[in-house]
Amino acid sequence: MQAKKYILPTVILCLGLLLPQLLDFFGLQYLLSLATRALIYGLAASSLNLILGYGGLVSLGHAAFMGIGGYTAGILLYHVQEGSLISVLLPSASLCNSALVAWPLAMAFAALFALVTGLISLRTRGMHFIMITLAFAQMVYFFFTSLDTYGGSDGISLYGRNTLPGLDLDNDQVFYYLCLALLLLFLGLMHRLIHARFGRALIAGRENVVRLQALGIAPLGYQLSAYCLAGAVAGLAGALLVNQGEFVSPEMIHWTRSGELMVMVLVGGMARLFGPVLGAIVLLFLEEYLAMYTDHWMVIFGPFLILVVLFGRSGLYGLLFAGRQRP
């Protein structure tokens, strides 16, 4: 009973570890970029899962964190490549270019935004919370759209990626493995959190917030911490995405992106550790292949989503093994 749960994740993990080699073998190298993006979106969706699936916070503004992280990395990369002002201010260009500087910075800015907006929005609940998170994300969208130096609404192309000592990130396979490693690292962290007292309090806040308070636990601290962590990780995912595509634009902050992340969490399975990764894979491949058949695949996807919501709530993960859902 216990072992059955681990079969599919293990299989997927093995597949994931060997994917670049498999793709090489079948001559499908061009799919590596798609797979990498699936991992990155899986990371972002997993961070959303923390606050949405486990925490019950319907945040419709998660793409904003990705955008803040992405733009942080993107702007630094841009300045290094342009050889302009900022690299003069900082000790050396290579420092700016380093992932060890850019990515933590991306996470920090995203976490800071999460802290400030979280303090305001987490005091509300239900519909208020949803709309406020959406509004804040829109604010970020408009902010970056208005930055003409960085391409405004068109965005900017970057040439090359951040650097890490000892690894050649410009190599797509190396980059893939890095994303995989980061994803697994975060999932491990999430697992630890969920099974700790922290996770219990967070999930209890989702199930019955008044009762939790009546027991003596104030949900705000837990929710805000989860929110900041989720924001930081989404910021990292944003930085990774910008590196992967070597391009940054406000499109990644458009509110439909936030919606897509939610769809990934739902379709994959909420409050399941691997669910969102599954959802990301499915959604990205769907977009890629349905788009080949018809430009208007959305007209089918919309009703499909509605049907899933109305009739199939446990997601793909729940479908695959109708096991007991542990909180």
């Binding site: 949803i130 604010m139 902010f143 007209v299 919501v309 109305l310």
Partner: protein
């Protein structure tokens, strides 16, 4: 006089936001459903009006076609889909109505193509009139403001003088009670929803000559509508009115004057323009954050 002109522009935007948010705030407050697809009815109103107007040459016919179209579409959506979401949690509602947006946007592209439609203001509303101070203001925009005020008056009379209005108001404060009083709740909900989408459609029609008629036009208006509702208070039409006017004014005035203000403060005019423009686009949201920090439930919450 530039200020006065911008104030009028702000009122015009505010009035359109009011049309969007009046119905939606009721849906939020009474049926407690969060509906992301409200912008789609704005879009339907615009598209139907644009098409009929182009075919027949008459703006009034376009209007007459668009309003029932939006109302009917709304009621069908309510009947088929929204009804099943009333007792679901907000995530389900968000995702399902999100699916509706995808569907409507794509359907629109399929029927009308990707190019924006062109919609002309009717000739009897074109041109400008002189207002005091030598200002020439477009008749059409004045008409929009007028329509908005009339709708606000109509809603006020509806809520305070008619039985239907009373039932709606009662529903906003206590949903269970009106059921106990024998009101046909499913029908009431359908009507409320239809009223909301009709108003959204009206906003869409009026927006046609002012903004681009294209798929997805409802999405950005929707978010502003949300801001209005959050500021005004969920469930309160009065709050929606005041919130809408405030948001319309803040957005318009900020966009008009912040760059100029920054020019006074900063040496480089191009950075001033950029910073001013950036801040202006965020002004509404900052305003929302300020209001919320003082009044977390909005200015006129219908319920505590």
């Amino acid at each position: 006089m530039l200020v006065f002109e911008q104030v009028l522009n702000g009122l015009q935007l505010g009035v359109m936001l009011f049309l969007m948010s009046a119905g939606l705030t009721l849906v939020f407050g009474i049926m407690r459903v969060i509906n992301l697809a409200h912008g789609s009815f704005y879009m339907i109103g615009a598209y139907v009006a644009a098409t009929v107007t182009a075919r027949t040459g008459s703006f009034l016919l376009g209007l007459a076609a668009a309003l029932p179209a939006a109302a009917l579409a709304g009621m069908v959506v309510e009947f088929l889909i929204l009804r099943r979401l009333y007792h679901r949690d907000h995530l389900d509602q968000v995702l399902a109505t999100f699916g509706l947006i995808f569907f409507f946007n794509e359907l629109t592209r399929m029927i009308w193509g990707r190019r924006p439609l062109f919609m002309e203001a009717p000739s009897w509303l074109s041109g400008s009139v002189p207002l005091f101070g030598g200002l020439q203001y477009p008749v059409y925009r004045l008409a929009v403001i007028l329509v908005g005020i009339l709708v606000a008056l109509f809603l006020y009379l509806l809520f305070s003088r008619t039985r239907l209005g009373m039932q709606i108001r009662a529903g906003a404060t206590n949903r269970e009670m009106i059921g106990a009083l024998g009101v046909n709740i499913p029908l009431l909900y359908t009507l409320i929803f239809g009223l909301g989408t009709l108003l959204a459609g009206l906003a869409g029609v009026m927006a046609g000559p002012l903004f681009a008629v294209e798929a997805g036009m409802g999405d950005s208006v929707l978010i502003l509508t949300f801001v209005v509702i959050v500021i005004g208070g969920i469930g309160s039409v009065r709050g929606a009115f005041i919130g809408a006017i405030l948001v319309g004014l803040v957005d318009t005035l900020a966009r008009a004057f912040l760059p100029a203000l920054f020019r006074l403060l900063l040496a480089s005019p191009s950075s001033a323009d950029r910073m001013g423009a950036a801040l202006a686009s965020m002004s509404v949201y900052i305003f929302m954050a300020l209001v919320l920090s003082v009044k977390p439930a909005g200015l006129f919450p219908a319920r505590e």
